[in-house]
């Protein structure tokens, strides 16, 4: 079998002594209040929405009236408010502290952006209103597209993809369409070992076989290995730059030339664009397509997992294949193009309506706030902060590669050798210290990886505190204080959870208890 070399426990040792967590009568622990499921709390007939009495007119439902109850509980407004506010307090958030998830770019989310997105002139627009009533919205999409093209020096952009992975699919589909247009059926996509899982998953969705490219000793693509794999059946290279080790691909121009010489296209995963925005334009590197995570580089909030937005910029070779719909600016205003027209050869449609407009508004507000000068400063401060962390921790943690890094600092678990503490334990101990852990066990090319991305919105004081805490933890681990790590977290709303049990016998929804009569049978 393909051996897993990064095994880690997914079932906690059941604690013998809950200690400070002795049971209370209520189940609450001070401000950490117990909160049952709505299905356990709510009254079945209650509602928190006052609606007028229906007239009781005869229906025209064609005999399709629902006959069974759905079982949906309802809460009045004060009950609902308390339920969700209590639950919210069990979450970590960027507004509470440094959130150093490498590759995720957890930066401050300005509230101006939220305010603008909620203006009725944007929030209350239906996607199928006549263009004459949405000129401002279409202009905003066009203006954001201009910013994205300018920042990347790429001639075209597809705005509709719903998130980064969707953008990848958009990019690869355009590449496949371009290859098919020249009668060139190719079969494989090259993806470095260190890539995000979305890259190979996307290539497979696009019908390509995936070939892995090894990393060299410096954490970058092995150029010789890449050249050896390039050939007439390679459709594209998918490369993240700066890469998932937090390093700029030094040979990127040569990589692009080699890819193009083989007749293939160069797809760049733009998840880490935050590190270079305003200082490097991907179009100058020979890239053919790149998605931009507006929810990373341009600060639209992550919202506990989404929504995102993943526009894709394209080179001239791929521009004709940009999917529907798109906005054009003509003499009499802006127009939404929803069907193929002219010389364009769109490969299809990837999403209903026109894209993540709410995210476009937030991203543009963020970009205009920073401006060309501020965005350059974003990249510089993001890179400075990461290097400061790397420099300040290199003697106690073990950097995976020599610096400088870009926007994130990568460590491996050599510093934990013989301590009996794993990357997982170390990360969980950070929770007790009031921090969200860094990205762990990714990228896969580094053993026990710890990937720290501070972003540019952390102050030096915040970094110094974080660095101080990590130094203390590293010292404790080396001093043999293993128990502290194995027991962590003990100060969070929950201790380690039994993921093994969750996967072996999945409980994916609440169900009402069977009636007593059934139980008695």
């Amino acid at each position: 079998m393909s051996l897993n070399t990064q095994g880690r426990p997914t079932r906690p040792e059941v604690s013998a002594d809950p200690g400070a967590y002795a049971d209370t009568f209520s189940g609450s622990r001070g401000l950490d209040q117990a909160e049952p499921l709505i299905f356990e709390r709510a009254s079945f007939g209650n509602t928190g929405v006052d609606l007028p009495e229906p007239k009781g007119a005869k229906t025209r439902l064609g005999g399709l009236e629902r006959e069974n109850a759905l079982g949906l509980p309802g809460l009045t407004e004060p009950e609902a408010m308390r339920h969700y506010v209590r639950l919210s307090r069990k979450n970590y958030a960027i507004d509470l502290g440094l959130y150093p998830l490498g590759s995720c770019t957890m930066k401050h989310n300005p509230r101006l952006n939220e305010k603008i997105a909620r203006l009725p002139g944007f929030a209350e627009l239906h996607p199928l209103q006549p263009d004459s009533t949405t000129q401002g919205a279409l202009e905003l999409i066009d203006r954001l597209a201009h910013w994205l093209r300018t920042l990347t020096n790429m001639p075209a952009v597809a705005m509709s993809p719903g998130a980064g992975a969707h953008g990848e699919l958009c990019g690869l589909m355009a590449i496949r369409a371009a290859l098919e247009a020249r009668g060139d059926a190719r079969k494989r996509v090259l993806v470095p070992e260190s890539a995000h899982g979305t890259n190979p998953a996307t290539a497979a969705m696009c019908g390509y076989g995936v070939d892995s490219i090894p990393a060299n000793a410096e954490g970058r693509v092995d150029l010789a290995a890449l050249k050896a794999k390039l050939g007439p059946d390679v459709a594209a290279l998918m490369l993240t730059n700066p890469n998932t080790c937090g390093l700029f691909e030094r040979d990127i121009i040569e990589v692009a030339q080699a890819v193009h010489a083989a007749g293939a296209f160069f797809y760049c995963d733009g998840a880490n664009f935050n590190a270079i925005v305003g200082r490097v334009r991907p179009g100058d590197l020979g890239i053919d397509a790149m998605h931009i995570n507006l929810h990373k580089t341009f600060s639209t909030p992550h919202g506990g997992g989404g929504p995102g937005s993943g526009p894709v910029v394209f080179s001239a070779a791929l521009a004709p294949f940009v999917p529907l719909p798109y906005v054009v600016h003509e003499a009499d205003g802006y127009r939404l193009v929803e069907q193929a027209e002219g010389a364009a050869r769109p490969f299809g449609r990837l999403k209903g309506f026109h894209g993540q407009m709410g995210m476009f508004i937030r991203a543009l507000a963020y970009m205009m706030s920073h401006g060309a000068d501020g965005l350059r400063q974003v990249a510089e401060d993001a890179v400075l902060n990461a290097n400061y962390i790397l420099a300040s921790l290199k003697d106690v943690l073990s950097p995976a590669f020599a610096g400088p890094c870009m926007h994130e600092a990568l460590f491996d678990d050599r510093f934990l050798k013989d301590t009996g503490v794993t990357t997982l334990d170390f990360a969980k101990a950070m929770i007790d210290e009031g921090y969200h852990p860094m990205t762990m066990y990714f990228p896969l090319v580094v053993h026990g990886a710890l990937l720290i991305e501070p972003t540019e919105t952390e102050s030096k004081d915040a970094l110094d505190e974080f660095i101080g805490t990590l130094r203390h933890l590293a010292e404790r681990a080396k001093a043999g204080d293993r128990e502290r790590f194995l027991a962590a977290p003990s100060l969070a709303p929950r201790r380690r959870l039994d993921e093994t049990a969750a996967a072996r016998k999945p409980v994916l929804r609440w169900r009402p208890a069977p009636p007593a009569s059934a139980a008695a049978e």
Partner: protein
Amino acid sequence: MRYLPLTPDDRAAMLAAIGVRSIDDLFEDVPAAARLKDTVDLPDHMTELEVERALSKLAGKNVPAGSVPFFVGAGAYRHHIPSTVDHLIQRSEFLTAYTPYQPEISQGTLQTLFEFQTQVAMLTGMGVANASMYDGSTACAEAVLMAARVTRRKKAVLAGSLHPHYAAVARTTAKYQDIEFAASKPDLDGLSGLKELIDGETACVVVQTPDVFGRLHDLGEIAAAAHEKGALLIAVFTEPVAFGLVKNPGEMGADIAVGEGQSIGVGLNFGGPYVGLFACKDDRAFIRNMPGRLAGETVDADGRRGYVLTLSTREQHIRREKATSNICTNSGLCALAFTIHMTLLGEAGLTRLARLNHEAACALQDRLAGVPGVKPATGAFFNEFTLRLPKPAAGVVDALAARGVLGGVPASRLYPGAGLDDLLIVAATETNTEADMAAFETALREVLR
């Protein structure tokens, strides 16, 4: 710059600590030819007031739904959203959290996802639901791919009255998976011609109800026809409020139910972000083939109940090229809005809301059917119906807009060149007043005169 805390002194001190002379030294790995000397050709930074002024000006060029009599639907619906919803989703702990990969400090997100999954399963009448997709259209495409994996077949049969964006997204997404598509015609004759397309190679039959023209369909017969050939029935919806009043996909024999959740909690937002709902039978083979994230219940080291993301080996970050989907970021915050709104409604509120929507649509249809030359073209409907007009609907919609009424979607916008130019798709919801309907009727009379 107000979002950047580092001072020039900080930067100097940090560069010194790192041991480099300037920030340029940290970018030394960038090939010299690609290092930008100057800023790009875009405006410099702006104050909060300046940005607000500039973007408010753009917002002011649009006609928002609340400012006019408004009857546009066809896949997105205007409903009233309780103020509690927007307040709660802006709580920092929800808004600015990442995907709940560290369950000990993400129980808020995880429990709400578990509640969301349960509500979606209940609403659709299905066994289980996932933690959301980007929107209804991509949920539909993923359902087609999932059906192909479950049945190991490669043909998808689409009803002609499936929202054309959904059909296009499914065809595009499945383009390179060797899936063959067959579709019935987008006409108003029920589900005619659909059953005939199902054969022994068919993985799934995809039917929308209420469909894009607003018509309700009893899926029982088509479910039986699909199952007889070993195919799955995928029931699609774009208006979840309907299930407050009419039979849901589970009740009609669907194997997978997918649709748009926007109506509940999310708002119009010019088309996105929305929230894709994805539910299926509680069957091991189905669940293992589902796309997207799943929250599940478990216990912690102290034996206390808690929630985690589970069955992740289906997903790209573990399974890579063998994953069930490439989706990573989903529609978390919109799912939260959906679940809060649904909790506030409860079944009592949802049922009443659905009834009010249906009554509004009935009243509007009666009014508009009285306009000379206008004929109702749908039989059973929920809150949306189609009218046959005496002239092309596209021009009528523009003329109505010029009179300050947003009066629906011309079928020709969704089906250009399909001979449906005289059809107008009209939606009514609880937000429409008698005065709105009267204004629509008057404007339509004028335009058709």
